[in-house]
Amino acid sequence: MSNLIHIKAFGMVAEKIGKESLSLENPGTTEALKNLLFQNYPELRSLKFTLAVNKKLTPGDIELEEGMEIALLPPFSGG
């Protein structure tokens, strides 16, 4: 049974991984997701970025559920 989460990447993160979105088998938590991303995209290790879950910044480790929208956000630089 599929349990996908949808990931959006922005700015320098999108540039480094070469794509703006991807879908992954749900690894369970945001910490597990980060480890999975670091495994798949080692170049991410050197980047500063935070995670948003369903458009909210997430402090700490969060349980991931199917259909959630996760975003990888490098430091903001608007204005």
Partner: protein, 148 residues
Amino acid sequence: MEKERKPKNIFVQGPISSEKIAQSIANHASKTDIGGHSIFLGQIRADEKPEGKVVAIDYTAYEEMALEKAFEIREAIFAKYPLTCMHIYHSLGEIKVGEICLFVFTSSKHRKAAMQACDELVERIKAELPIWGKEILDTEGHVWKVNT
């Protein structure tokens, strides 16, 4: 005209024209309880980087999240200061050196509220909205903008 509270789009494709700013100012002539307007404009600077000189900034955003956050900031600033009006516009896409990429506009009965709210809005927009600037260099390369 600003008192209904619903998320509104802040994004503009391309640079913000001086005509748009003038129109926005002119629109407030009918609001006779306004005594002061405070405006901040962000303009693209030809910064010298080790890798080359900036000729433009290409802005992208996580638009849905940015609009939610901008609405939250609007509400907080309206709650904190006695404002009559508040407008925020941010460019997306490539904005050339000398062009305007950010337009923040606050109005109030007395000047201090408009000024303080405008300053605070600009700080929060830069710190809290998921927007990214890619600085395009005259060497064909680019660097990612860093807010200080």
